[in-house]
Structures are given as C-alpha cells and as structure tokens.
Symmetry: C2
Subunit: 258 residues, 2 copies
DNA sequence: CGAACCGTTGACCGAGTTCAACTCCAGTGG
DNA sequence: CCACTGGAGTTGAACTCGGTCAACGGTTCG
C-alpha cells in the first residue's frame, strides 16, 4: 500500500533543512516526541537548528510570529500565530534567517515527527489533516501577500485592526475589548511598514473615532460595519485551525497538551 | 481505516467554495476527470465557477498566474505558474475575485477530484504528494510575501530577473537568453509596483550593464554573481515541482497529459 | 491608414521613511 | 520615597521613493 519513494520527486529538497524529502519521508532516529516550550516575549525557536522541518509546533496560548530577516537586519513577520495555530515547518528562503518568535509570553507544543515518520506517512488521517493545515496556511499567506502588494498603509492598518477584532469575537452586534499582544514595531514588521507610520495611522484612526483606545494595547471598534466599508476586502471570519476540535481518530495531532 | 469526518474541524470551510470540508472530503457527483484547457494570453479559469477547489490544475506549458483583485480593480499576481506547476485549488479571500490567468498562451490540465474524492482521501501516496505540493507553494508564497514587505522596487525587479534567469538555467558559468513571458504590467502586478516603475528600473539596470536586453522580452545576465551581490537574499535555485518526474506508484497525478 | 496596445520617458506630487525630540511609564536602586 | 534609566509610543520636519498623469515612438492588426 505504502510505497515510500513513490510520491515525491527524488531531486527535491525541503527548503528549510536542505535534506532530501524531509517532509515525513526519511525515518530519522529520534526519541523525543512531544516537548513544551514556555517562551517569554522575544524568545525564539530557530528553524535552522536541529531538524526543525521534521517538527510541528502548536501554539497552546499566547501569540507568536513566523519571522524572516535579511543579513542587513530588515525583518518581516510572515505570519501571526495565535492560539491553536499549527506551524508545520518553518520556511527558509535561502540567504535568510527564519524563526518562530514569541510576541507575548506563550506556550508552544512541539511534536517531533522524526521518530514516527514511516508510520505517519502511511496514515491517511494524519496526512489529510496535514494537508488541511498547510492548505489553510497557504490561503492566509496569499491573502496577506495581496495586502502587502496592493493596499496602502491606512488600509493595511485598518484591515489589521479589523482582523484582530474579528479574532476577539467582534461582530456587528458585539464590541469586545481587543488587546494587541504586540508592539508597534511588530505590527509594522507584519504590515511591511515602519513603527512611526503605524503609530501615526493609529492616531489618525483614533481622531476619526473609528477606533477607541483604552490603552496603547487595548481598543474597541464601535462600528465594525463602518470599518468594513473603508476596506476593499471583506474582513475574514476567524477560522483558526484548532487541533483540539478534531474529533476521534488515531491522529498524532489529536492528543492535545494540557 | 478511513474515517471520513475524523480529520477536519467540522466548522471549517474551504475559503474558495465556501462548502464545508471540500478539500477531498465530500464525494461530489461528477464525471469529468481530466480536461485540457488551451488558453490564449489573457484567458482565465475562474476559481468561483463550479467547484474549483475540488480540482487540481497543472501547467503543461506556457506561463500562467494566480490572480486576485479587489472591486476597485487593483490586481495582484499572487503566484507565477510555470510549466510543471500544480495549482491545488485557488484561494479566495472573501470579497475578492480569484482566477488563473494565462500570461502567455498555455495548456492547462485540469484534474477533477470530485468523483474520486473518497478513494483519494484514503490513498496515502496521493495525500503525501498533495501535502508536498501545497507545502512547496507555501514556501514560495511566504518568500514572495517577504519580498513585497521588505524589498524596495529596485531589489524586487532585480530579484525577479534573477529568478527568471535561474529558471531558464542561468548559473555562474552559463548565460542563457531568458525570455519574459509577460508584459510590464504583469510584472508590476506580481511585484506590487506599477508598470512605469518597472519600465524605469529595467532601463536603469540596462544602463548599468547588469542586464542586456535583446528585445523588450528577452535578456541576458552577463554576471549573475554581480546581480546576487546586489540582493539581500540568495537567488533561489529553481525547484519547480514536476508531476512528470514522479516515479511509479498508482497516483492520479502520475498520469501526465501529453 | 488609423486604432489599439505596449513600452519608454519626463514632470510633478504625495505617501511613507528617516531622523530627531519629547512624553510616558515600569523597573530599579539608592 | 524619589531619582535615574531604558524602552515604547507619539509627533514634527525634511527628504525620497514610487505613483500619477501625460506625451511620444514602435508594432500589430484591422
């Protein structure tokens, strides 16, 4: 049934670890299966150390970021990783550094796939789940790519606030207090701007009464519909993939750390 | 062995078709399995018509682009799809339009997964391959996202030329003639710029002798190392996923159209 | 031949960056 | 308790990169 070498182009390598076919294929000897990392703000899990691309990371709580940076120090936050998000191998463009960074204190569960690679590679339930997770991430990535390519700075910041609000449960009826688990500079690095620009735009939005700030890191959106009207895109409904929710089935991702 | 509803959060929907769990799961009645589309420059395959997210598209030859646009007409090319690329469901941000567009004349092979969804969902070889394909696309997407977020216009265009050259087989030793299968505006929409800016930068590069243009759509890079030195990122080696190369095994993707 | 389209170039302007000053606040140590 | 420090956030002034608008040349296709 399973033929280990049938499914992947033999010449291809994982961009991250530069090993051939690391995505589940090679049965790497390893014993650790599940490690918890308690990260303080600013702490990093490096994609290049060890064989990071044979691991899944799940955010148990807190907010983290998948980061990339160039030799000259420019940083881009490629993806925000909130509670429930599964990072299935960090991507390494060649000539860049890549890491997972805690934006607030957070708890990360690391699952090492190395030991069970053979077995997992034959498990349709696991594979389908993995596909689903990456596919979801691809959707997000492409949507954010469009944001960076075609929205101006005001639209980017507005969209960002709307998304954070949506994640916090904001709807047309409810206006929850939304907290920003990250600094202005983090926001800037996520949106491809700089921190001064972000700050200026937040001030402008505050003056226009679109957003009420209770503190620099807490806000309320009085009228989400109005925010939506100013955006050329619809505000995405929060669809965080939650490994907790997966019912039944002998999936390795199903046993969720407490 | 296969439990259809075990692996996906029941509340999640495919962003593209807004059906629950469309990624292989629901056994949609359908009979067409494999269709070839011969597209002329500018032709589109729409992501929203029919159930596009139950289909894979493979570029047999030519160059296409995954596009997104807003209601106001702004367009972003999310990904360039060259020969051998597999598009495994177009992504639809809500409130945006999404389609696959031929940049040059091209031939696309469409594989309908609807009819065989059940069967495929239990096939580890197929699933592993699919995972590999999406994972590859995610890597690319995130790398391009960083380009849009943190590189200035000159760097973007330079990187673009370097990548096109690398795909055409350029190395430190060989300087092949590289052809651009797309207009200035297409390049602009890919790089998050506008066509005049692209044109200006190309002229500048031409004057600085970094690039020799034989025609507006054909160029040579005399010294790839020099180009590389001007970039903060390494030029990625071309790793197009080629479904042709997959050896043996009863994979649906393995039977390649001629 | 004219129409349409593509690519190039120039002049101008505005959005966003850079640099710098200043405030506010939390932590620390006397 | 207060003084000091350092980091985060805000705001202003100057500058620059990239966008906008417009003109123009070349090519293709009726």
């Amino acid at each position: 049934m399973l033929r280990k070498h049938n499914v992947v182009d033999g010449s291809s390598k994982c961009g991250s670890c530069q090993q051939v076919m690391c995505t589940f294929l090679p049965p790497q000897p390893e014993n650790a299966i599940r490690v918890k990392h308690a990260l303080k703000r600013g702490d990093r899990l490096d994609a290049n150390e060890g064989n990071a691309c044979l691991k899944f990371w799940i955010v148990v709580h807190g907010t983290a970021a998948s980061c990339t940076s160039f030799a000259d120090g420019r940083r881009q936050i490629v993806s925000l990783e909130t509670k429930g998000e599964t990072i299935c191998s960090l991507m390494a463009g060649p000539g860049t550094q890549n890491w997972l960074e805690a934006l607030s204190d957070c708890l990360i569960c690391e699952i090492d796939l190395g030991t069970r690679a053979k077995e997992l590679h034959a498990d349709p339930a696991f594979l389908a789940l993995s596909f689903h997770v990456v596919h979801r991430r691809l959707e997000r990535s492409q949507s954010h790519l469009t944001t960076l390519g075609r929205l101006d700075s005001v639209e980017r910041v507005t969209l960002f606030l709307a998304e954070m609000a949506a994640r916090a449960g904001a709807t047309l009826e409810t206006q929850p207090v939304v907290s920003l688990p990250m600094s202005r500079e983090d926001i800037a690095d996520y949106l491809g701007l700089n921190s001064e620009t972000v700050s200026r735009i937040l001030s402008r939005l505050k003056k226009s009464k679109l957003v009420k700030f209770l503190s620099p890191s807490e806000f309320i959106i009085p009228d989400l519909a109005e925010l939506d009207r100013r955006l050329p895109v619809a505000i995405p409904t929060p669809q965080v993939y939650r490994s907790e929710v997966v019912p039944g089935g002998p999936s390795i991702l199903h046993e969720v750390p407490k």
